[in-house]
Symmetry: none
């Protein structure tokens, strides 16, 4: 199966913590990268997510907030740092590609205004902020 | 493949309109239901989305806004009307299930405060509002 | 701190209510404006969010739903009313700027179709609807 989500990061479930309706899932991608996802308890059971299980985090490019700054004190549980490898401005929105640890490429869509204002250009360091509740988890079987 | 997205609606691509960076895709679910998705042009090409192609819209439960009212004038391109079949309050958020045309069940997560304030209860009519940019499209092959 | 999020609203934490996994945070912006955010408990503790603490709400422009109508009965906990000061249509999406109380400017990205259909033009009153789960909170220290 292929999805429109521009970011698909494969990893291993490290921890699952269930609440009344929602659950926190931590996915270890390797190379020191972790993804925190907030999904429903139903999804945890349906996908049989337990530590050690292989899973993929899907992140839509338009859900990502970018910042040139590192270690921002922000509620978003995911803060991935890398180097910009491509910038493509559109009419209102623009696309940015960021290389993360292990050569992974992250694609983000932000406004052209943000691209200019923040000086997001090829070669610059950049942090991608993603709320745990914006991440989808999928499994192969 | 299974995903944590609580809503997976299968349909046929009806139209694709490409811009500079993003594209609009209309998916016909049958039973008079349509889904409007806003995805990247790259995704349109990668998934070979053209009219007539089978595809699935994935919608995370926490991206859905609910209203008891019908035909709200709102920028959200998706406004699906149905009847509430289940409500499960949690500690902060609660889950609502809504039956749409053709027996499809839509699952939404909203705050408990919203549940009480809007009187969202089993048997009530309810609209689900979803921005086109919050929808993921996937294909089987 | 600089981010690509087009909306950064500074305020004071008024209330925090923690559930099992997620928490509700109310940020008082002044001028009668409040922001309701739904974030993880971990984030509440990590950012030391308690009543009286200064914090900033980050809202990505593409997470905002617009409506010309006031006081819509909707589950979205944030409903900010203002006057449109600018509209810039793109190829698929368009950008709208809305002046809120206290001169704050809110930027939203919606589809061009929505702009036309709802008659969103400079000078018109407009409501911005934002789900609490779409808001990021950050602190300076």
């Amino acid at each position: 199966m292929k999805t429109s989500a521009r970011n698909e990061f494969r990893g291993t479930v490290k921890a699952v913590r269930q609440g009344a309706v929602n659950a926190d899932v931590i996915l270890d991608l390797g190379d020191g990268l972790q993804i925190f996802a907030n999904i429903t308890n139903d999804a945890v059971e349906d996908l049989r997510l337990t530590p050690g299980r292989q899973a993929v985090a899907l992140i839509k490019a338009s859900f990502i907030v970018l910042s040139p700054d590192a270690n921002i004190r922000v509620s978003a549980r995911n803060q991935l740092r890398g180097t910009i490898t491509a910038v493509m401005p559109g009419s209102v929105n623009g696309e940015v590609k960021i290389q993360l640890a292990g050569g992974r490429i992250l694609t983000a869509i932000v406004t052209n205004d943000a691209l200019q204002e923040l000086g997001l250009a090829v070669g610059a360091a950049c942090s991608a902020l993603i709320k745990a509740s914006h991440i989808l988890i999928c499994v192969d079987d």
